[in-house]
């Protein structure tokens, strides 16, 4: 279980994330939503020890993320940030193989090769696995990075806006894949999303952030209501139940 206690990040005295405390239960898909600048990515980065906290603590299964050795944590928790870039000339398979680093320290065994094959197949990258990542489209590269994170084989997977640069088909595919990762692989997935409809259709649990604070939390039916959305995003929306799914209409 991931526990956040009074997690705060300030830049020059201005809080970006303001004493957020919450528990992320095991198994399940949690979506973090909120307007731009609400502190979603910052929060996720601090949970994954990519960014130091100004105050507060984060524990993953009781391990304090700021004190636990990096390689111990890397077997429990994986994160993918938004912008990933490398000047190294890597194939998709090379990149996915890096996901095994916490386990094999760079010497890939046949067991690692199987995990790499699985992750590549899970993301449907078989045909692309020998292509260089700088020759791929944005969406394909995004999927390659997600494959790397899944290949790390951790219980907790944090993804910062994984739907960026994906078209409708691949965005839906990515969300279904995360659902499968939860149901089939038993993972706990935390994902920052912009599209509140994806959050309401796929997430078990939604965290709605506003101005660095956790404004609302709960299952989609409790969070995705016209009143709450209005109070956070400051736009009038209608929430319809279509084919059993809560769909917010905010385009016009």
């Amino acid at each position: 279980m991931i526990k956040l206690n009074q997690v705060t990040k300030t830049y020059d005295g201005t809080p970006v994330v303001d004493s957020v405390s919450l528990d992320l239960p095991r198994q399940g898909l949690t979506a973090i939503i909120g307007p731009n600048g609400a502190g979603k990515s910052t929060l996720l980065s601090m949970v994954a020890r990519l960014l130091p906290m100004s105050a507060g603590t984060v524990t993953v299964d009781g391990l304090d993320v700021t004190k636990t050795p990096g390689d111990t944590l890397a077997k429990k928790l994986a994160i993918l940030r938004q912008d990933n870039h490398t000047s190294a000339r890597l194939t998709v398979r090379d990149l996915v193989g890096f996901g095994r680093f916490p386990h094999s320290k760079g010497r890939l065994t046949s067991a690692d090769a199987e995990k790499i094959d699985e992750a590549i197949a899970f993301l449907g990258l078989d045909a692309l696995q020998h292509r260089f990542i700088d020759e791929l489209s944005g969406g394909q590269r995004q999927r390659a990075y997600v494959a790397m994170v899944l290949c790390q084989d951790t219980e907790f997977v944090l993804l910062d806006e994984p739907l960026n640069s994906l078209d409708m088909k691949h965005a839906v595919g990515m969300m279904k894949l995360m659902r499968r990762a939860v149901t089939e692989l038993g993972k706990t997935v935390v994902v920052v999303l912009h599209d509140i409809n994806f959050a309401s259709c796929y997430a078990d649990h939604i965290l709605l952030m506003q101005d660095g604070r956790l404004a609302h939390a709960g299952p989609p039916v409790d969070v995705i209501t016209p009143e709450i959305i209005k109070s956070v995003y400051d736009i009038d929306i209608a929430v319809h139940s279509i084919a059993g799914q809560l769909i917010s209409v905010y385009y016009a």
Binding site: A74, A78, T86, F98, G124, A127, H130, R131
Partner: protein, 328 residues
């Protein structure tokens, strides 16, 4: 999510071992040529004389190649080199300060090995102070790192110029000897010590190759994969400092061709792994230095400088490779 339009799988990539083998063979031939061409007279003298020079060329080539590749990995940038960041300017400044404070004679007569040890230590401390904060400061901007490095390099060179103007002309002559890169006057008395330093540095470096492979995909990904980022970057920076000190102490500032060697290695190595890139870079460096020195001695009869030959020939090769579209 299968891709309907995915390209067919290309044939398995070329084998990096073959690239290394070919380069090693070329290096071997050049070594043979270097030792034998134009040899007249007593073989035992020629072999010993040329052997020392060759040994220095190999050591320096390896140090420059390794330091540049490490530096470019931790900065995730293929344009930055230790030379651009002022590492060797710092070393030259250090030597000038020593001559300024203690006089040329004292510096010349002082135990060369102890001198080298002191210089390297001071240099490591300085480099850690100056460059450490660039990697760990609150704002990790590559452009800032580059800018500060270039400004510091210029500052070190200017300070050296200033000191040189203040000292005795005779002592200046001593310094000049140290400043200008040349394999004709290799500091042979520290050759053994440099060799030990390089071996030690290599022992650490070669074990770090898998970690550096990960560092090359960026800080965040590396941290995610459990790499102790701060510690690894510090170790890498320490190694770079040690390697640059070694090559600079041996022949003067020669890191000029590190950029060329490293980038040629990235272009022709069909692998992203340091275990392949470093040997390729080191062999290219050896080929450049030995080939360049042969041209200098046999064709140009010492009428030009090694750096001009290497940068001219290497630059042409580099442009040709770029034009052939191998680069990205």
């Amino acid at each position: 999510m299968p891709d309907a339009l995915a390209a067919p799988v290309p044939a398995p990539l070329r084998n990096p071992t073959i690239v290394i083998a070919v380069l090693a063979a070329v290096t071997g031939l050049l070594i043979l040529g270097f030792m034998t061409i134009g040899a007249r007279g007593d073989w035992s003298f020629i072999l010993a004389f040329r052997g020392r020079k060759l040994f220095a060329l190999l050591l320096v080539g390896y140090a420059v190649a390794l330091s540049t590749v490490i530096f470019q990995t931790i900065t995730q940038n293929r344009i930055l080199t230790p030379a651009i960041m002022g590492f060797d300017a710092l070393f030259v400044l250090l030597q000038s300060v020593l001559v300024f404070l203690f006089g040329g004679l004292a510096v010349l007569t002082f135990n060369a090995q102890a001198m080298f040890a002191i210089e390297t230590l001071v240099m490591s401390a300085f480099a850690a102070l100056i460059y450490g904060f660039l990697f760990f400061g609150a704002r990790r901007s590559l452009h800032l790192v580059m800018l500060v490095g270039i400004v510091l390099g210029t500052l070190f060179r200017s300070l050296t110029d200033f000191l040189v103007r203040l000292i005795d002309p005779n002592e200046f002559a001593t310094l000049q000897d140290m400043f200008y890169a040349g394999f004709n006057a290799v500091e042979t008395d520290i050759l053994g010590l440099c060799c030990i330093v390089l071996l030690t540095a290599s022992l650490v470096a070669w074990r770090k190759f898998p970690v550096w492979d990960v560092l090359a995909i960026g800080r965040d990904s590396a941290v995610n994969l459990g790499v102790a980022y701060h510690r690894e970057v510090l170790i890498a920076l320490a190694l770079v400092t040690l390697l640059v000190s070694t090559s600079t102490a041996l022949v003067g500032p020669v890191t000029f061709f590190g950029l060329l060697v490293a980038n040629l290695a990235y272009l022709i190595t069909p692998s992203h792994k340091h275990i392949h890139i470093v040997p390729v870079a080191a062999l290219i460096a050896a080929i450049c230095l030995i080939g360049g020195q042969m041209l200098l001695e046999r064709v140009f009869a010492f009428n030009t400088s090694l750096s001009i030959i290497i940068e001219f020939a290497g630059g042409i090769v580099f442009i040709l490779l770029l034009l052939r579209g191998k680069a990205r």
